[in-house]
């Protein structure tokens, strides 16, 4: 109960605090030099710093307010460190330290370097120090306070982030500060955001002409605060009300358009994952006719290869994915060749036995991975350049990892087409799959070609595993989740047709994502399956059936 009571007080003190800030900043800009010496209340500031090492979150909130008001030079770095979880205190003496991890060691540097008694400490563990803990409420509060401080940061991106942060909770008191800053602003994006912020605040002013101007500004913004402000707006006159309504409609139209674009992107990205996991199968199943139930496990091996590569190069996560691509191809390919030589080659022409045997192989591979890596999931770290999103505008953002996977899928596909069409291996594969006896009569070593083709298909499954490791769990069950989808894509696209696989994957992805918003994820999946069953009834050979004599048998 006591916690909830204080939440209210913090909220209430928030606006006066911002107000204080604004006035303080304006003072700062006028007399930057003299102000520091004029700030008294040394003791309360000192107390505030000490409070940070306490457990009570409400006391900490008060302390942070005091620190932000006084704004000593340490305030900004300390608050940033708190957000990052890198502000610590010594268990003895309670002095504050920054933590920096240097090659598996922990370096603690004192927050106040003026005190000669405190020295940087370098040790192997964090013993003797404790983290200054923050919770969501404190984090949010610190972010808002930092935003005010960072409106004048030299980096435009940080200024933009600061304005966006203020937009989440627009306060009338921030208006003067922003007005002051907008004149000196050079970056167009920041200016637009600031204008939106000012408009949101003006909408609540009593002046009708100001309100009209604000509505006009907000109509061109896609920011959700702008939309919410318009929706909550109580128009004093009919004309203004109509104006606001048409602004809302205009925003909604734009949002709908972007939502459609987003859905298509989601569909293509799901499609590329489906296609990527099916391309390998399109070769082993489509070209060679082997029902390989261990295909999913070959993807899993690719994903575990990525994990191992990351373990081997922990200092270079950014590069590790690029190294993992050829590594996964080779490892999965070799396992594939071993499966072909060990099991499948004895079973050519007996599809049922192949199905059972490869299913057995898949169980063996799963349990092997469980024994080596434990049944727990392993974490593959997403490199910096693949995380986050490409923010096109306020409502449309495309996530980087998905974008890269779409491109990766296309690249793998193109490379495979090139191998099949331009190399002698591709020629031999096609020859053997079309007419084995004739190919052998022409001097093609069909067994060798079988092994290599299976290895190629498996290697590509490994590549899919690298992509999947960045999206989902790396665990022994990874393969099972994708095997059904892979078969679905290959059968739908037309067995033996690589282009069919790509088109089928993308189509199924987009259909799935179009259905999902109104049918829900569970029903959408069922509907897609029903669609495929009906489609196969009508066209048993899939989207792009093979033509010619090879298709007869």
């Amino acid at each position: 109960m006591s916690v909830s009571a204080t939440t209210v007080t913090v909220k209430k003190t928030f606006s006066p605090l911002l107000f204080f800030f604004v006035s303080f900043f304006m003072l700062m800009s006028m007399t930057q030099q003299t102000i520091a010496s004029e700030m008294p209340a040394e003791s309360s500031l000192e107390d505030a710093w000490k409070t940070l090492s306490q457990k009570n979150y409400n006391k900490k909130a008060e302390a942070i307010e005091v620190i932000a008001q006084e704004n000593p030079p340490e305030a900004r770095p300390a608050m940033k460190a708190m957000l990052e979880g890198q502000l610590y205190y010594a268990k003895r003496g309670k002095a504050l330290y920054f933590l920096k991890e240097v090659n598996d060691n922990y370096e603690f540097t004192p927050l106040f370097d003026t005190d000669p008694a405190l020295k940087p400490v370098l040790q192997e563990n964090r013993r003797g120090f404790k983290k200054v803990k923050v919770n969501n409420r404190l984090r949010r509060m610190i972010r808002q306070l930092l935003a005010v401080m960072q409106l004048k940061h030299e980096d435009a991106d940080i200024r933009l982030a600061a304005v966006q942060e203020l937009l989440k909770n627009p306060e009338t008191e921030a208006a003067d500060l922003v007005k002051n800053a907008i004149g000196k602003e050079t970056d167009q994006r920041v200016i637009t955001s600031m204008q939106t912020l000012l408009a949101v605040i003006q909408l609540e002013s009593g002046d009708e002409t100001a309100q009209l101007a604000a509505i006009n500004t907000l109509a061109n913004s896609l920011n959700s605060s702008a939309m919410n402000a318009l929706a909550a707006y109580q128009a004093p006159t009919k004309a203004l009300e109509n104006k606001a309504q048409s602004a809302i409609n205009k925003i909604n139209d734009k949002r709908d358009l972007y939502a459609k674009a987003e859905t298509i992107f989601f569909g293509l990205s799901l499609g590329s994952v489906l296609a990527l996991s099916a391309i390998g199968l399109a070769i082993t199943f489509g070209v060679m006719g082997v029902i390989n139930m261990a295909h999913g496990e070959l993807m899993m091996i690719g994903a575990y290869t990525t994990y191992v590569v990351q373990l081997l190069m922990p200092d270079n996560i950014a590069m590790s994915i690029l190294v993992a691509i050829p590594a996964a191809f080779i490892v999965s390919g070799l396992v594939g060749i071993a499966i072909e030589r060990g099991v499948i080659r004895h079973l050519y022409g007996r599809p049922l036995e192949t199905l059972l045997a490869t299913f057995g192989v898949s169980l063996v591979l799963q349990q092997t991975v469980r024994s080596i890596f434990s049944p727990l999931n392993r974490s593959v770290e997403t490199p910096e350049w693949m995380s986050g999103a490409w923010q096109i505008n306020e409502v449309l953002a495309l996530t980087w990892n998905r974008l890269y996977i779409i491109f990766f899928c296309l690249a793998v596909f193109m490379a495979l087409i090139a191998v099949m069409k331009k190399t002698s291996l591709g020629l031999q594969v096609r020859a053997v799959s079309q007419n084995r006896t004739m190919a052998r009569a022409m001097g093609v070593r069909s067994k060798w070609v079988d092994a290599l083709t299976f290895g190629l298909g498996s290697g590509i499954a490994g590549l899919a595993g690298v992509a999947l490791s960045l999206l989902t769990n790396v665990g022994p069950n990874l393969g099972q989740a994708y095997i059904i989808d892979s078969f679905m894509v290959v059968v739908f696209g037309g067995v033996g047709n690589l282009w069919g696989t790509l088109v089928a994957g993308m189509t199924l992805g987009v259909i799935n994502k179009l259905l999902e918003p109104w049918a829900g994820a569970v029903l959408a999946k069922i509907l897609v399956l029903i669609f495929i069953i009906l489609f196969i009834q009508k066209r048993p050979k899939g989207l792009f059936p093979q033509r010619g004599r090879a298709a007869e048998d």
């Binding site: 909830s4 799901l270 049944p375 996530t399 999206l471 989902t472």
Partner: protein, 431 residues
Amino acid sequence: MIKTTLKKLAIAAAITTASLASTGMAWAEDTIKVGVLHSLSGTMAISETTLKDTMLMLIEEQNKKGGLLGKKLEAVVVDPASNWPLFAEKARELISKNKTDVVFGCWTSVSRKSVLPVFEELNSILFYPVQYEGEESSKNVFYTGAAPNQQAVPAVDYLMNDIGVKRWILAGTDYVYPRTTNKILKAYLIAKGVKEKDIMINYTPFGHSDWQSIVSDIKKFGNTGKKTAVVSTINGDANIPFYKELGNQGISAEDIPVIAFSVGEEELSGLDTKPLVGHLAAWNYFMSVESDENEEFIDAWKKFIKNKDRVTNDPMEAHYIGFNMWVKAVEKAGTTDPAVVQKALIGVSVPNLSGGYSAMMPNHHITKPVLIGEIQKDGQFDIVWETSGLVAGDAWSDYLPGSKDLISDWRSPLSCGNYNTKTKKCSGQNY
């Protein structure tokens, strides 16, 4: 050639499994047999293997203390392989063939429902260590995990009162636990004055990995200016891609916090936790709890498993409590006969790992504190809130129309799992 090798392999495999199942047989005659029924292969192995190891550790420690009633304890481990019907078969094997006096096991609700008739028929004892949907009380099952009122309801209270959440997204995997929990939560929220349009319910299949559109929907639902939170009953594997997508689409815990009921230290250990910092989980135990019992337990666990990076979690604590309760009840009764121990268990109180005591209630549920933690960068939880006292598990939810009037009390003379206080009748169903 290959056929004969395969056959040999099959025989070898059969022999190893048989010998694994019966390792205990060679031991001395008068040991007390404790059955461990957790999946060691298949989809649930990820969670259940740890619990098997926990049981082995607890039994080993008890034996070091001199066993029980002057006899040594002996673990009989079987592998139901995440296969629900197999759970029932293995349970029967444990009780009838291996003559176990008590069984610790199951994780998913469906596996518990599958073994329930077996335990009732053979009148044995099952300790079930995982949080579940409630709406059940069997004479033969002791529920040491949380009932909805020990996890879901306090979590929602916290979000509503302390964080000021106004709009709710109930997201879950499509099976019995999330469906029932969300039904209870929805009824609870509406009773608290939340409007239907401020609640969004979403279900996804098991192992769902493409969260793009759902996360984008969550973002839109949460962008209306009212504080929004996600209450997640998403199960196991699907969580990792879900949190990854949240991070990628830039939804931070400060904007839209996610509170999870199935994500603990173990699940986080397979995950890059940077984008998760600040998201919440509600449990009855966290590894970061500061108490002497907990420190001892963690040290013992790390030593037993020979890995200093292994973590502990809530279902492990449930087994710790359950096992100690059973030991105490057996000592009190002076016998391991399940019929006697069932009665002796009610009222038994043992230390839990958060520094207090947990007691077995007449409805076969236990008292526990409820904790809420925020995920930290190192995969641990910072406890941000806890109930002031212990919460007793409620078998029948007070917020569902069908079960509002039901109570469970296995003491005589009532001795009923679903007694209707209005009609004054025990429905007599065996659940």
